[in-house]
Assembly symmetry: C2
Homo-oligomer: 362 residues x 2
């Protein structure tokens, strides 16, 4: 099968992609990305003190928002956007008018493949998003749509068309994305294994979605890409992307959309402080033991045919079932509703992401 | 975490491994495997004309069985072992008294990794079998027990012990394992992508298990490794390993065991004739569209605490639900029962593979 994500196809997507970057510092890291990001539009979400001036290298096309902007744009709904946490990135998802989002952290640099060639992470993400996913049956030779690969013997023919891809989760060379306890136990561990594969995470299986190097189809799944209430004034941090990932996965499963993981790699340069991380994570670490069974058992009704409807339904189930774990989840459930209200307000005539549940979407 | 499958650990497993090879020709291919198979015991199952003499290279420790032996050993139960199909390999699984089985086809040679080093496929399979599996949650950095890897942030701590591994499915460089239609469409496609990963296939997800390069824990899952009724006198071929794989996966899921796929690669030298294959496969190709939903919906009762009990229960469900697809499945369901009777007869004092359903086994 030919790959729909050829070089020519991705080049013309410049009008359909926004790159969202949450940051608290000058964006010197963009210099390294210049060959790959030039011509694309950036949405920079400045976290922390809004009076601080963030320098962006010359030659990039960008808009920059700080906390004052968030308050101005969202008014009373601004509380749903976290402060002092990279969860603030989802404000950029809200403002974008593009079909695809690539979000990347400012400590992520261009990685090299085993041949020494610099990896165009954005191009690979777009390839992943433009080719179908295969969530209903596992293909042992990984992505069947990739050049030189296909479905293996025994793969049902009725499933070979695949389903639309909602999200593409990229990985990290150098500093792996470990939790604080693992960072403490293995301070020197580095990831230098380049695994040359992209795969669909099967339907019904949850995964830990990291927000460092992530792309998604905003039309299909954008309303579910909410990074929750983290950081300043909240009892928890560093679970923003995990929360979004669990929501995205159960909603993608319900809508018959796919989520991929694997290529592309970025080079993650700096491990965050494990002691600080432990403080941020520790409630997440034990709450998670209740959150996972909750998400594993979530069932959405047939009437939920859009990401918005699914997300509102999910917020109700969060309140009903997780509210008793901690009062925090009642607050989070309310914020989920506020987020969707903000989404609908800022995206009034946006493309309708009607998808058929449990089947091939539109 | 340290890997339980160190070199020292695998060296001593010579007493616990049988290598099972189905064949119709002289086993010259073993010469290339000599550095890796020497000292291990081989069980060779000769298919086709029993009067033909199969030559085995000097220096290997082996036993060889042909159709006459199968009839002699199994008597009236011999009909459950296929004739003129590589499905006959499961006779070797039945006769073995070892804990681990590695089965390989005689057109599979030693592959090289990207550094040019010859791959010890058996050693990698044993590493896979000796380290736990993680079927309940997806780890984005692949096998978390491998050196240089671990569980990523957001992976529930309660699931990090993993579960025992029942089977290890290896892959193929050069000739990929395609069905006849794909072989016909892409006669020149070769697999030259070395993906440096081992992963657990998530619970609830089916996969196409190929018997070419496969290892398993005979104590845990042996009774489910039945390759069905194929070849001579049967309406179907080339679905023997697929059938076994679907049974193994649903039973492993029920018993709380893991199934891995990925490394090791072998070099698959010769594509079988696609026209002949099409004739063998064609009923499988459309029956499969009913078999997959059947296996996806199989539910085994709590009382099924061993692979044997699960397999007998599965045979009943095959008869009840697939008998109406074709009379063949009634015959197959009966053969599944015969297989278990033969297993119990030949393994009377075998280790009890009691495992707890849906949790950590013994």
């Amino acid at each position: 099968m030919s790959s729909p994500g050829s070089a020519a196809a991705t080049a013309i997507l410049k009008e359909e992609v926004d790159i969202v970057i949450p940051t608290i510092r000058n964006l010197d890291f963009l210099d390294m990305w210049r060959p790959f990001f030039e011509g694309y539009h950036l949405i920079i979400v400045q976290d922390g003190d809004p009076s601080k001036v963030i320098k962006v290298p010359e030659g990039f096309d960008y808009e920059l928002y700080n906390r004052n902007d968030i308050n101005r744009v969202l008014g009373p709904k601004a509380h749903c956007i976290s402060f002092k946490d990279s969860a603030c990135r989802c404000f950029g998802f809200l403002l974008s008018k593009k079909k695809y989002i690539f979000t990347i952290d400012d400590d992520c640099f261009v990685a090299k493949d085993p041949s020494g060639k610099e990896i165009n992470a954005l191009e690979q993400h777009l390839k992943n998003l433009l080719s179908p996913s295969t969530p209903f049956f596992f293909n042992t030779l990984y992505d069947p749509y990739r050049e030189g690969a296909d479905f293996v013997r025994g793969y049902p023919f009725s499933l070979r068309e695949g389903v639309p891809t909602a999200a593409s989760h990229g990985l990290w060379l150098n500093i792996p994305d470990y939790d604080a306890p693992t960072q403490l136990v293995k301070p020197l561990e580095r990831n230098n294994r380049y695994v040359d594969a992209v795969m669909t995470i099967p339907k019904g299986t949850l995964f830990p979605m990291c927000g460092m190097n992530l792309a998604f189809n905003r039309e299909l799944i954008g309303p579910a890409m909410y990074f929750g209430l983290m950081g300043d004034g909240q009892p928890i941090g560093r679970y923003d992307d995990m929360w979004a990932g669990w929501c995205v996965k159960v909603i993608s499963d319900h809508l018959g959309l796919g989520v991929k993981t694997g290529l592309p790699y970025i080079w993650h340069s700096k491990a965050s402080n494990p002691f600080v991380n432990l403080k941020k994570e520790y409630k997440g670490i034990y709450w998670q033991e209740e959150l996972i069974p909750f998400f594993q058992s979530v069932s959405l009704p047939k009437e939920c045919t859009t990401a918005q409807k699914c997300y509102i339904e999910l917020s109700k189930q969060v309140k009903a079932k997780l509210g008793k774990v901690d009062e925090y989840f009642n607050k989070l459930a309310d914020a989920m509703v506020t987020w969707i209200e903000a989404w609908d307000e800022l995206n009034p005539s946006g493309p309708k992401s009607e998808a058929l549940p449990n089947g091939s979407a539109k």
